[in-house]
């Protein structure tokens, strides 16, 4: 079968369904949010349609700048750690038998069925002083008395990496499975060690996949708002937590919308920058 470029309008009809879905479920809600972000807040009440920029003005302060910076830093760290763990893991996974692969993938998919709430509460129990993992260490004689490992930055990071890792592996898996094994064989016959072959051949060959995965995990982690609340102290609350506070508890929709729009713009800019830098390097290489 030969693939032909679409000529008539009818050839484009298969696109209509996804386009309509995108409009209904993305373009319309997002436009509503942008519109609301310019509405006037009625203190103690709700909002009236208007065009004011106060909501953005309130956001531009050192306080919210700090929270935004922390949120971005946290999301970047989660992305980097996830890919650093998931990439070698997925590579080794593709080298195992079909049966082992299926078992692993089913287990990973089952982790995805857990909600953020369950993950958060499970980790808060695991990290607690009264029932947590340090009790095992005490029983093994490695620690003198049980300790609470939360709330803290380490706990937040662990919870978020745990949540994002299955996605990371599932995104990397197809690309690694399709990787031509002769590439590494050639490197090995030329005398490279397996580790060297992995770092010098496999990683560069899949650079685009890695960048795409980093971006996906970054965006995914940026939206997390429950885990920082359950596992962290207030200074570990992300911008998403404060957006929830404004929208749900303060009924300040315009300000919440303005913060959300700002967060989307900043993350789009970061993603764009990453792609730009990646593309330029490709051109010079």
């Amino acid at each position: 079968m030969r693939r032909e470029p679409p000529r008539t309008i009818a050839d484009y009809t298969p696109l209509a369904f996804p386009a309509i879905m995108l409009i209904i479920f993305f373009v319309v809600p997002f436009s509503t949010m942008i519109a609301v972000s310019f509405f006037r807040r009625q203190q103690g009440g709700f909002y009236t349609p208007d065009f004011v920029i106060d909501n953005y003005g309130r956001f531009l302060s050192a306080f919210f700048g700090g929270v935004l910076g922390f949120s971005l830093m946290l999301a970047i760290m989660v992305a980097v750690i996830c890919v650093a763990i998931a990439f070698p893991f997925t590579y080794l996974l593709t080298k195992t038998s079909r049966r082992v692969q299926i078992v692993w993938l089913v287990c990973l998919l089952s982790v995805l069925s857990l909600s953020e709430v369950i993950i958060g509460f499970a980790w808060s129990t695991l990290f607690s002083r009264t029932a947590g993992i340090t009790n095992l260490l005490v029983a093994a004689g490695l620690m003198s008395e049980p300790q609470a490992l939360l709330p803290g930055f380490g706990a937040v990071l662990t919870g978020m990496v745990y949540q994002a890792l299955p996605y990371t592996i599932l995104v990397l898996y197809p690309a690694l499975v399709r990787l031509d094994p002769t590439l590494l064989e050639a490197a090995r016959t030329l005398g490279a060690s397996p580790l060297r072959g992995f770092i010098n051949i496999i990683v560069p060959a899949l650079r685009n996949t890695i960048v795409a995965t980093l971006i996906m995990v970054f965006v995914f982690a940026l939206g997390s708002y429950l885990l920082p609340q359950i596992l962290g102290r207030p200074q570990h609350w992300t911008l998403s937590v404060l957006i929830t506070d404004q929208a749900i508890y303060q009924s300040n929709m315009p300000f919440a919308a303005a913060m959300a729009v700002f967060l989307v713009l900043i993350s789009l800019a970061l993603v764009g920058l990453t792609l730009l830098v990646g593309g330029r390097r490709e051109a010079t290489a």
Binding site: Q42, F63, A148, W237, Q250, S251
Partner: protein, 362 residues
């Protein structure tokens, strides 16, 4: 021109058919209104379960009005949902139990249908804080139940009960407290003012509020958890993971009765008294049923029943009730309570919220 005229006629025909169609579709709901019902929103979880089990069946038996209870999240979140729905002409619940702050916020947008005091038998016996009024005197909400937020401790970790809110500031309690995470539901500014500044009147001015914030900031090193979700703290309190904090008097009492090592103490400065009102969404057309419901819920015997079965404090005057001293002490206290400054959470809500967030996050 002729053709245009023709289309307009046929368009009218379509309209007529359409109206008839809508009318027919609406019929079942008219029919259903005959066996009367009321959708009532109450806080989900323990509250809703107790009401479903002990209170609503009695009401249906007495009046023939079926109650469909709706689980509502915390007041503020439910308020947003009710308001959005009312704008679309929908009422997810006719009557809702609504916190004082949320009742005031709803008043700003005229969300609540004014209630008629003449149709509520015990209106004159309601305690004064339990009638919410619009500025022009119309009644926006009637007290449903009251409850206390008190100082709670784990009895294994604290064999002696603390007797003052000042225990929250005690350096010995470093990293041991669980406190509510929002300025408008923790009422810690009021606690600070009553404990250290001579009363909640100290919060009248902005200087007073800033002073309270500064004093409250000293508590931060002691706080392990600022919770939004009650389950998060309750679990930690029971296990002793977080052995002290502020929590609901009724729920703590129930947990203690179930054998958990927890206790609730009314500090000498008083417990924080919060309450919920019955409010009627303006999108609801069940005005008649709503009044019958509120009248029933404000009867002394029902208020006593709720105190015994649900553990809430009554909204009627003490002498109208048949509660024994012991029963009364289980749900309330003679110590003068700390009454939250609800007015501040509408007039200065954004400023207070910003200051609060900066205080606990910074």
């Amino acid at each position: 021109m002729k053709e245009l005229h023709k289309t307009s006629v046929s368009r009218r025909k379509i309209l007529t058919v359409g109206v008839a169609g809508v009318g027919m579709l609406a019929m079942p709901s008219i029919l259903r209104a005959q066996d009367r019902s009321l959708k009532v929103g109450v806080y989900g979880g323990y509250f809703k379960d107790s009401f479903d089990e002990n209170i609503f069946p009695e009401f249906t038996k007495a009046t023939g009005i079926a109650v469909e209870s709706v689980a509502e999240p915390t007041g503020e979140a439910w308020l947003v949902q009710l308001e959005q729905a009312a704008r679309a002409g929908q009422a997810p619940a006719d009557l809702s139990m609504m916190s004082q702050t949320s009742t005031l916020k709803g008043q700003e947008t005229e969300l609540w249908t004014p209630l008629d005091p003449a149709r509520i038998g015990n209106y004159d016996d309601l305690l004064e804080p339990f009638v919410a009024k619009y500025p022009d005197g119309r009644v926006a909400g009637i007290g449903a139940v009251a409850w206390y937020i008190t100082l709670v401790t784990n009895t294994d970790v604290y064999p002696e009960a603390p007797d003052s809110w000042a225990a929250l500031w005690d350096p010995a309690n470093e990293d041991k407290l669980g406190l509510l995470a929002l300025v408008s539901n923790s009422f810690l500014l009021e606690v600070t003012a009553k404990t250290f500044m001579g009363g909640t009147d100290a919060l009248d001015t902005e200087e007073g509020q800033i002073e309270a914030f500064e004093k409250l900031a000293e508590v931060k090193p002691n706080v392990r958890l600022w919770y939004r979700d009650e389950a998060q703290f309750e679990q930690a309190l029971k296990s002793g993971e977080i052995p002290m904090g502020q929590y609901y008097h009724d729920v703590t009492g129930l947990a203690a009765a179930d054998g958990f090592p927890v206790r609730s103490t009314f500090p000498k400065e008083g417990g924080i008294q919060d309450s919920g009102n019955w409010v009627l969404s303006r999108a609801s057309d069940k005005v008649e049923e709503a009044h019958i419901f509120i009248d029933y819920m404000s009867r002394p015997e029902i208020q006593s029943l709720m105190s015994r079965k649900v553990g809430t404090a009554p909204t009627l005057k003490r002498d109208k009730l048949d509660l024994t001293d012991e029963e009364f002490a289980a749900v309330s206290s003679e110590i003068d309570p700390i009454i939250p400054r609800y007015d501040l959470y509408t007039s200065k809500s954004d400023w207070l919220n910003q200051k609060w967030t900066e205080m606990i996050v910074g």
